[in-house]
């Protein structure tokens, strides 16, 4: 026998479900000048500024991920960090309770890719089970992003790598959308 649900009760359930938005703290890590702030600004404001302005401390952005049909709303608190900290960042208070990280490298500066590889390992050690991906930024400056020579650590099969351009917006929204999907699917919040 089917149950008839009163209209007012079903509206209540719908409104309650909508109000339960998943919020996730996600870190942007990487050396100075790799494009962390540009990625955040491209994502949140759809803008790109070619002038470099170093991030001091932490700057927090808020971004609502467009949910899939019948999906739950999802919000990122994006912690854009000071690139000078390096691996000592994992000893600071900023990293606490982080649920995800995007570790950014600049494809035009190979040393930043080595650094990104090390930071990725350090994040995986410091925050086991959390979502992470290595972002290869500034791909608009390469003729063929697929021909990029990567450090050995980033060549492992199934390593989460994304090629982006904060300047053109290539893969920026997709990267965060994919992160939201994976975090939701794995229940990492």
């Amino acid at each position: 026998m089917a149950r008839v649900v009163p209209q007012s009760f079903s509206n209540f359930v719908r409104d309650w479900a909508f109000a339960v938005m998943t919020t996730c703290k996600i870190m942007l890590l990487g050396e100075m000048g790799v494009g962390k702030t540009s990625i955040a600004k491209q994502l949140v404001f759809g803008t790109f500024d070619g002038e470099y302005g170093s991030t001091i401390g932490v700057e927090i952005y808020t971004y609502d991920v467009e949910p899939p049909p019948d999906g739950d709303p999802f919000k990122f608190l994006i912690w854009d960090t000071d690139g000078s900290f390096g691996e000592s960042f994992f000893n600071l208070v900023y990293i606490r309770q982080a649920q995800a990280a995007l570790i950014v490298g600049d494809v035009t500066r190979p040393s930043t890719l080595e650094s990104a590889a090390r930071l990725t390992e350090a994040f995986a050690d410091a925050m086991p089970g959390r979502y992470f991906a290595t972002v290869l930024n500034k791909c608009d400056m390469l003729e063929d992003p697929e021909q990029l020579v990567l450090p050995e650590q980033l060549q492992m099969p199934d390593f989460p790598l994304v090629r982006t351009s904060a300047k053109t917006g290539m893969n920026i929204k997709d990267t965060f959308y994919e992160a939201a999907q994976t975090i939701t699917r794995r229940g990492l919040f």
Partner: protein, 384 residues
């Protein structure tokens, strides 16, 4: 949700702090109950913090910190500090604030302090920004110097190639041209006495030399084009590749070719790899001195390289020839009409284009056989 602004139970220091902060714009504080629900606030910096809600939901830097903040109740004289945080909205960061939370046991409350960075701190921030800018510029200059150095190496190699090319054109291609001149003279003579000296013989010789020269020019063009990488690096199943090469060869009936070892899938350029393996196998068969022979192609991994080896049971290559055979148009047996002498030159050039190393293992004085070894890097060189 609890409603705000009940008069909290405050001791003297908190009362004085509230009174002072009400008039200040560089600091603020928020009182919270044991569940971190904000119940009172003072100061302009706290105006956007909603009363009646948890500060861990309404204050972005404190998101997710509930357990850590609540544990302050168990640690006397402890606090949680999150310094130098700016919230970015509408494209520009707000003021940079320091956040500090402590547990005030006399009033049974958590207290959140917010304070602006002081002027000296702002100056230090600007100074650090300038220093960083300089560091980045220096890093860019260093990177450009490396690029220039790499470009110079390429230019030197190109100049060397041009010199080799000029030498080949002026020396090796002269041979068939000289032969054509002689045969033309012979043809002219034979036309005076066609009965005793058949002109057709000289015409055939002219035709042969013409074909030879055409083959040499085609080989030279292929040699020159090898550095132009039109392919992209892609997954290559080396087992499929080597088997397709072997299947496509026109093997003499009495020859046997075996594929051995571990042939993995790698990310690489397929065209030069195909060229190298194919030419090495064809060379081993072409220059075998017997009607029966065996060629073995093997592969194994060694560190950061794949090692391909093409071994045969042919006559071998003397040590004093083991470098010359990779030069264009060099043939050890000049009377051997097969080929133009470009096969191994193409192999060497293709190997150089991807950073692979070639070596020859052969000692005819000790016995028959020759092995051509290619160390193929798993990570290929960039264009520069």
């Amino acid at each position: 949700m609890r409603q705000a602004d009940d008069e909290p139970h405050r001791n003297d220091w908190l009362t004085r702090a509230f009174d002072a902060l009400g008039r200040r714009e560089y600091a603020a504080l928020v009182c919270c109950d044991s569940e971190l629900i904000a119940i009172h606030r003072e100061g302009q910096l706290a105006e956007n913090i909603s009363l009646g809600e948890s500060i861990c939901l309404t204050v972005a830097p404190l998101f997710g910190m509930e357990e850590e903040i609540k544990s302050l109740r168990l640690q006397s004289d402890s606090w949680l500090e999150i310094p130098t945080v700016a919230i970015v909205s509408n494209g520009a960061p707000t003021r940079r604030l320091n956040y500090l939370v402590l547990w005030d046991s006399p009033t049974d409350q958590f207290v959140l302090f917010l304070a602006r960075s002081l002027a000296a701190n702002d100056m230090a921030v600007e100074l650090r920004r300038e220093v960083r800018q300089r560091m980045l510029v220096e890093a860019e200059v260093a990177a450009q110097a490396l690029e220039i150095e790499a470009a110079n190496r390429v230019l030197m190699r190109v100049n060397r190639d041009l010199a080799d090319f000029a030498r080949i054109v002026s020396h090796d291609l002269k041979s068939p041209m000289r032969a054509m001149r002689y045969f033309t003279d012979d043809l002219e003579q034979s036309l005076l006495n066609p009965v005793e000296d058949d002109p057709k013989t000289h015409l055939d010789r002219l035709r042969t030399q013409s074909r030879r020269m055409s083959s040499m020019l085609t080989g030279l063009l292929s040699y020159a084009k090898l550095e132009q990488k039109g392919d992209a690096i892609a997954p290559v199943d080396t087992a499929v590749l080597v088997n397709s090469i072997v299947d496509s060869l026109h093997l003499p009936v009495s020859f046997e070719v075996y594929v051995k070892g571990n042939w993995p899938e790698i990310e690489t350029l397929e065209a030069p790899l195909d060229l190298i393996i194919r030419n090495l196998i064809e060379n081993a068969i072409k220059h075998h001195d017997r009607e029966e022979g065996v060629v073995i192609i093997s592969c194994h991994e060694e560190g950061k390289a794949l090692v391909f080896k093409v071994s045969d049971d042919g006559p071998g290559i003397a040590k004093n020839h083991q470098e010359a055979i990779f030069q264009p148009f060099v043939r050890l047996n000049e009377e051997d009409a097969r080929g133009t002498g470009m096969g191994l030159a193409l192999v060497k050039r293709a190997a150089q284009s991807v950073g692979a190393e070639l070596s020859v293992l052969s000692a005819p004085e000790n016995g028959r056989g020759c092995a051509m070894i290619v160390m193929w890097p798993r990570v290929l060189l960039t264009k520069l």
